[in-house]
Amino acid sequence: MNIRLKIWRQEHEGDAGKMVDYSLNDISSDMSFLEMLDTLNEQLIQKNERTIEFDHDCREGICGQCGVMINGRPHGPLTNTTTCQLHMRTFKDNELIVIEPFRATAFPVKCDLKVDRSAFDRIIQAGGFISVNTGQAPEANDIPIGSPVAESAFDAAACIGCGACVAVCKNASAALFTSAKISHLVLLPQGKIEAAARVKNMVEQMDNEGFGHCSNTEACEVACPQAISVLHIARMNYEYNKLQVLKK
C-alpha cells in the first residue's frame, strides 16, 4: 500500500515547529504503525536528513512509552489500542495520515513527536503509593481480599501512564490517570489507611502541574489503551469531597 504523511517536526522545546509532508510507497499492510515510521526513518537516513524522533520501547502495548496523535486521535483510530499495537491494515491505500505529538501545557514537546510526561511521575510522588518499607510486610494471606475487589483494583491499576487521556481531553485534564491510581489503592484494605492524604496531595499536584479540570466528556475512557473507566474519576471526586465535608 501507499500512504501520504504529514508529520510534526520540531527541533527542540523552544522551536516553533511545523508540519512536513512525506510519502511511503509499497509498504506491507501487516506492518505496525511504528515499523512504518522506522521505514520512513531509514529513508531519511539514506537522504542524510535528521530522523523523526518518537517515543517507543516495548512495542507490545504495556510500557506506555509510545503515543502520538494520529489523524487527531491519541494512538489512532482504534479504540483501546496503543500506537505500537496499531497496524497499517487499519488505514486505506493512499490515505493521508496526520501525525502530531500529544498536546498539553503539562506535556511540553521535547523534539518532533516526543513530549515530557514527567508530570505524571510527580503526581505519583505526591501520594500514589502505600507507605510500606521493605521488610515491614505481614504474611500475604493475612490480608484476604475478595476476588471481585482485587479485580476492580486491578482494572484501575492496569493504567500504563501513556498520557492519551490527557491528550484527548479538551481541558488536558489528568483526572483519569490520577483517579486510576487513587482508585486502585483505596479499593484495597492496605491502601485505605492513607486515602485522605493521598487524594488531597495527588489532586493538588495535578493542579500544580497545569492539567485542566475534568468536564466529563468521557473521551479519556475511549482513548485509554486499557479501557480504564471514568467511574474512577467519580470515586476520586467522592474521596476528595468527603475530605472537604469532613474538613480533615
Binding site: 515499523e35 516495548c58 507490545e60 504495556i62 511521575d121 503509593f129 521493605t134 475478595g146 482485587a150 491499576a157
Partner: protein, 636 residues
C-alpha cells in the same frame, strides 16, 4: 579458580549465617554514603527504594522517560514463590531443586537456595504495596503452574504480572524521590564506569535530551540494566534494551560469565516480514491450557481447523509425556525448531507451530479462558488479525532472556570492588536455562532482600571516605573517552543505518549461536562478526548531531553488541558440551537430547577483557554440588 565467597555452613543456613555476621552501617552514617543504581526495572527500583528507606543517599538512572517503563513491565505470566498455598508438596528445597535442575546443573547451589528461601517474603512485600495478584473467591491468593515444575507456585496478576510488580517497586521508588532520598535521572544512559584506585566510584552518563555528558560519583555502583537478548535484533525485548552498561563495565575489568547462554522463548509470534522490529512474547502460562502441535504431513497447506485430530502431531505430549506442553523452555523451543526445520512448520513463512485452545475451551468454556488469558488473546488479535478463540495461535521461538551476564560472587559483587550487578544483568541464579516466572523473582529478590544486606556489608568500610570528587582525573579521562567514541560514530558518514547492521548481526547469531550451535558454525560466525564490525566502523551513517538523536543512541549500542557477539561465540565455542539453552550439535544423546559433560565442564566461564588487540582470558568458577547430585535432566 574464582572464589564466589560462599558462606560456610549447611546450605539451608548459609544466608542466615551471612546476615547474622555481615557488617552494618549505623543509621547516622548512612546518609554520608551514596549508592548509584543504573536501571529502574524491578531489581533497580526495588534496590533504590530499599536503600533510600534505610537512609542511604541514592542516585538512580534510567534511559526511559520514566522508571515505570523499564522492560520488567512486559513480563506476563507470573512470579514463583514456595508458599505452598496449594498444599501440593512445595517447599524451599523443592523450589531450589526445580531451579537447579531446570538450569541443567550449571548454577551455584548457595545462590539458588537463597533465591527460593527469599521468595515467600517477596509475595508478602508485593501484596503490602498493593499489587493486585489473582485471588480465589475466599479472598486468598491464587496460584498456577508453569513450565518445568509439577507444583502450582506461580503467583500472577492476569497476564500483566511484571507490570503490577514493577508499579509496586516504582511507587516505592517515587515515594523516596518525593521524600528527597533518591535523586532520579530519567532519560540518562550510562556510557562508562569510573574507577579510582581499582574501585568503582562513579559513572559517566549521557543526558539523552540534551546530548550532554554528566559525571556522578558514589561509594558503590549497582548495575541493574537487564539482559542483552536484543543483540539478536528480533527478540521479545524492548527496542531500547541493550548490553552497553555491562559491556563498558566488562571493558573496565568486570568479568563476563556464560555470555552465550540465551534463552530462546518457545511461545512468541513468528516473523512475518523483513520490516519487522520485534517478536512479541505470548506468556508461557498459555501452555497451561494450550496444546502445541504441527500437522503430521509436511508442508500441509490446509487451514488448522480443517486438519482432523488424527493428522495432528502433538509433539511435546508425544516426546515428553510427563511434562507435555509444560516442558521447560529450552526443550520446547528446540522441539519446535526441530519440527520447523524438518518441514512441518505452519504459517506463510512455514516458521511457526500451532498453540491450540480448542480442548480447553470445550472443557472450561470460553469465559474461563477469557478470564485467564483475555489480554493475551486481545493482543494476539491486534497484531495478527486472527481470533484465537476460533483458530489456533501460531507461535515460534524467539530470543528472550540472558542467563549470562556479569560474573558476581555470593554478595552480587563483580570482580571490580564496589561494582554490583543485580537482576538479569548478572549471571547468577538460572544456570543454563531459566524456569518460567523465576526472572521476576530473581530481580525482586536481588533488589529487595539480598543487595541491601550485601551492599551494607561492603559500604561499612567506606564511612570515612567522604564525598566522591567527580573532578578527579579518572572521571575526566573517562569522559574524554566517551566523547571520542561518540564523535567517531558521527564522523563515519557512510551509507548504512545502525539498524541495518543490527539486523545482520542478529541473523548471524540466530543461525550460528542460537538454539543450535556447532564448532564450524561458531568459527564462521566469529569471522562474519569481525567483518561486520569492520564494515560498521567504515560504513555506518548517523544523521543529526550530538543533541537528542535516537540514531546516535542506537549506533552506540550496536557498536557494543558487535563486540559482545564475538565473546558470546567464543564462550559457546569453548564449552564442548550441551547444557540447557546451550546445545552443541556435536554433543547430543542418540535421541537428540542435550549431552552434558560434568567431568570437564561443571564450571562457570568468566571472561576477562584483555584489551582491543588480545583475546579475552578465561577464568573458571568450579560448581560444587554438595547437596544435589547432577542427573540427566529428564522431562519424559
Amino acid at each position: 579458580m574464582l572464589d564466589a565467597r560462599i558462606p560456610d555452613g549447611p546450605l539451608a543456613e548459609k544466608w542466615s549465617n551471612f546476615k547474622s555476621h555481615a557488617r552494618l552501617v549505623n543509621p547516622a552514617n548512612r546518609k554520608k554514603l551514596t549508592v548509584i543504581v543504573v536501571g529502574t526495572g524491578l531489581a533497580g527500583s526495588a534496590l533504590a527504594a530499599s536503600m533510600a528507606e534505610m537512609g542511604y543517599h541514592v542516585k538512580c538512572f534510567c534511559f526511559q522517560d520514566t522508571p515505570r517503563r523499564a522492560h520488567s513491565v512486559a513480563a506476563q505470566g507470573g512470579v514463583n514463590a514456595c508458599k505452598n498455598y496449594k498444599n501440593d508438596g512445595d517447599s524451599v528445597y523443592r523450589m531450589f531443586y526445580d531451579t537447579i535442575k531446570g538450569g541443567d546443573f550449571r548454577s551455584r547451589e548457595a545462590n539458588v537456595y537463597r533465591l527460593a528461601e527469599c521468595s515467600a517474603s517477596l509475595i508478602d512485600q508485593a501484596v503490602a504495596q498493593g499489587v493486585p495478584f489473582a485471588r480465589e473467591y475466599g479472598g486468598y491468593l491464587n496460584n498456577r503452574s508453569f513450565g518445568g515444575v509439577q507444583v502450582s507456585r506461580t503467583f500472577y496478576a492476569r497476564g500483566q504480572t511484571g507490570q503490577q510488580l514493577l508499579l509496586g517497586a516504582y511507587q516505592a521508588l517515587m515515594r523516596q524521590v518525593g521524600l528527597g532520598n533518591v535523586e532520579l535521572h530519567a532519560r540518562h544512559e550510562m556510557m562508562d564506569l569510573v574507577l579510582t584506585d581499582g574501585v568503582a566510584r562513579g559513572i559517566i552518563v549521557r543526558n539523552m535530551d540534551t546530548g550532554k555528558l554528566e559525571r556522578y560519583g558514589g561509594h558503590a555502583v549497582v548495575l541493574a540494566t537487564g539482559g542483552f537478548g536484543k543483540i539478536y535484533f528480533l527478540s521479545t525485548l524492548a527496542m531500547g534494551a541493550n548490553g552497553s552498561a555491562i559491556w563498558r563495565a566488562y571493558k573496565r575489568g568486570a568479568y563476563m560469565a556464560n555470555p552465550s547462554w540465551t534463552q530462546i522463548h518457545p511461545t512468541c509470534l513468528p516473523q512475518s516480514g523483513e520490516y519487522q522490529s520485534k517478536l512479541t512474547l505470548m506468556s508461557e502460562s498459555l501452555r497451561n491450557d494450550g496444546r502445541i502441535w504441527v500437522p503430521k504431513k509436511q508442508d500441509d497447506q490446509r487451514s488448522p481447523n480443517n486438519i482432523p485430530e488424527e493428522e495432528r502431531d502433538y509433539y511435546l505430549e508425544r516426546k515428553y509425556p510427563a511434562f507435555g506442553n509444560l516442558s521447560p523452555r529450552d526443550i520446547a523451543s528446540r522441539a519446535a525448531k526441530e519440527r520447523i526445520d524438518e518441514g512441518y512448520g505452519v504459517g506463510p513463512l512455514r516458521n511457526a507451530v500451532y498453540l491450540d485452545f480448542t480442548r480447553a475451551i470445550q472443557n472450561q468454556g470460553e469465559a474461563a479462558i477469557r478470564k485467564k488469558y483475555g489480554n493475551l488473546f486481545t493482543m494476539y488479535q491486534k497484531i495478527t488479525n486472527v481470533n484465537a478463540y476460533k483458530e489456533p495461535m501460531k507461535i515460534s521461538p524467539a530470543a528472550h532472556f540472558s542467563m549470562g551476564g556479569l560474573w558476581v560472587d555470593y554478595e552480587l559483587m563483580t570482580t571490580i570492588p564496589g561494582l554490583f550487578a543485580i537482576g538479569e544483568a548478572n549471571f547468577a541464579d538460572h544456570g543454563a536455562n531459566r524456569l518460567g516466572a523465576n526472572s521476576l523473582l530473581q530481580a525482586c529478590v536481588d533488589g529487595y532482600f539480598i543487595a541491601p544486606y550485601t551492599l551494607a556489608n561492603y559500604l561499612a568500610a567506606d564511612i570515612k571516605t567522604g564525598p566522591i570528587d567527580t573532578e578527579d582525573v579518572a572521571f575526566a579521562k573517562a569522559q574524554v573517552g566517551v566523547e571520542e567514541f561518540m564523535s567517531k560514530l558521527l564522523a563515519i558518514k557512510g551509507n548504512q543505518s545502525a539498524d541495518q547492521f543490527h539486523r545482520l548481526l542478529g541473523k548471524i547469531l540466530y543461525d550460528k549461536c542460537g538454539l543450535l550451535r556447532s564448532k564450524e558454525g561458531l568459527m564462521a560466525a566469529i569471522t562474519e562478526i569481525r567483518q561486520l564490525k569492520a564494515e560498521f566502523w567504515k560504513n555506518l551513517h548517523v544523521p543529526g548531531g550530538e543533541a537528542m538523536n535516537s540514531e546516535l543512541e542506537k549506533a552506540g549500542r550496536v557498536a557494543d553488541f558487535l563486540e559482545l557477539a564475538e565473546l558470546m561465540c567464543n564462550d559457546a565455542l569453548y564449552r564442548n558440551e550441551s547444557c540447557g539453552a546451550h546445545f552443541r550439535v556435536e554433543y547430543q544423546t542418540p535421541d537428540g537430547e542435550a549431552l552434558r559433560n560434568d567431568k570437564d565442564f561443571a564450571f562457570v566461564s568468566a571472561w576477562e577483557y584483555k584489551g582491543e588487540d588480545n583475546g579475552p582470558e578465561l577464568h573458571k568458577e568450579e560448581l560444587n554440588f554438595d547437596v544435589v547430585t547432577p542427573t540427566v535432566r529428564s522431562y519424559k
